[in-house]
């Protein structure tokens, strides 16, 4: 019986670790996407400044 409980405990521990991992990785990807847009804006602003100087 205790073996069965240990197995379920292990299953939920594994599941919790992987769910947390997916959430963290997903969040990091969405942050990278947001940053990509911000860097694009910055690059556009820099090239515009360059054109003005020229």
């Amino acid at each position: 019986m205790s073996e069965q409980i240990a197995l379920w405990f292990l299953f939920f521990a594994y599941t919790a670790v992987f769910v947390i991992l997916f959430l963290v990785v997903g969040r990091l990807h969405s942050r990278a996407s947001r940053l990509e847009k911000e860097v694009e804006h910055l690059e556009a602003a820099v090239s515009e400044e360059e054109k003005k100087k020229a």
Binding site: L10, V25, H29, V46
Partner: protein, 228 residues
């Protein structure tokens, strides 16, 4: 847009594989006769080990590509491979240590497989120390990282073949005659976790490559602004 769609698809496939792997290993796969349910640590351990080798191999190949082409894109891939490989190497050491406590009644023993894996872990920690040392000069950082990566990767085949070259108590899962596990359900669980770990490594490498690319683009824009 095309990349983000591919990435999103990859993540859903990864999620599905993990769900199937977890259910299979806990519902279908039987307990080990001696180690009982704790034997399931092995699925994570094996998958992490192979994912670690693949990530380091990609990092090593990208390091060669950088030294030939001198394109920083390859250096970013090389760094991403080393980072993800190091994360999985840590998983291998931790899961292996827990498994060893149950199977061998010790957290650590000076077995060739364990020692060579620990050496591999320290080599890649040194790789990041070296990269941090040259952080001021991006080109020098890339060259030093690539050269060190060529050297550090030499330990990967040593880890893999250590159980054949020296006397070891570490189980030999992959032998010349195939996979050394009698239960087909256990082999399936092992393979499912292997696929899941490789997909996870690919996703993490993609993430780190994106972040390195962003850092380089940001630095280039800042340098441009400073020149005004």
């Amino acid at each position: 847009m095309r990349y983000s769609q591919t990435l999103s698809n990859l993540r859903w496939i990864l999620f599905a594989v993990f769900v199937v792997a977890l259910l299979w290993s806990f519902v279908v796969s039987p307990d080990d006769a001696i180690l009982k349910s704790s034997q399931r640590i092995f699925y994570i351990h094996f998958g992490s080990a192979i994912a670690c080798f693949i990530a380091f191999a990609i990092g090593w190949a990208a390091a060669i590509a950088y030294l030939v082409k001198r394109n920083l894109g390859w250096d970013r891939l090389s760094a991403a491979g080393a980072e993800v490989g190091l994360v999985f190497a840590t998983c291998v050491l931790v899961s292996g240590s827990i498994w060893a406590r149950v199977a061998w009644n010790t957290w650590w023993t000076w077995d060739p497989r364990l020692v060579t894996t620990a050496v591999l872990w320290f080599l890649y920690v040194a790789y990041f120390v070296l990269r941090a040392f040259f952080a001021e000069d991006r080109r020098r950082q890339a060259v030093a990282g690539a050269l060190f990566s060529l050297f550090a990767f030499l330990d990967v085949p040593v880890v893999f073949f250590s159980v054949n070259w020296w006397t070891s108590i570490h189980p030999k899962v992959i032998t010349e005659s195939g996979i050394n596990i009698s239960s087909p359900a256990m082999v399936t669980a092992m393979m499912l976790f292997l696929v899941a770990m490789i997909l996870l490594a690919a996703d993490l490498m993609w993430l780190r490559w994106r972040q390195h690319t962003l850092a380089d683009r940001l630095e280039a824009a800042r340098a441009e602004l400073r020149s005004y």
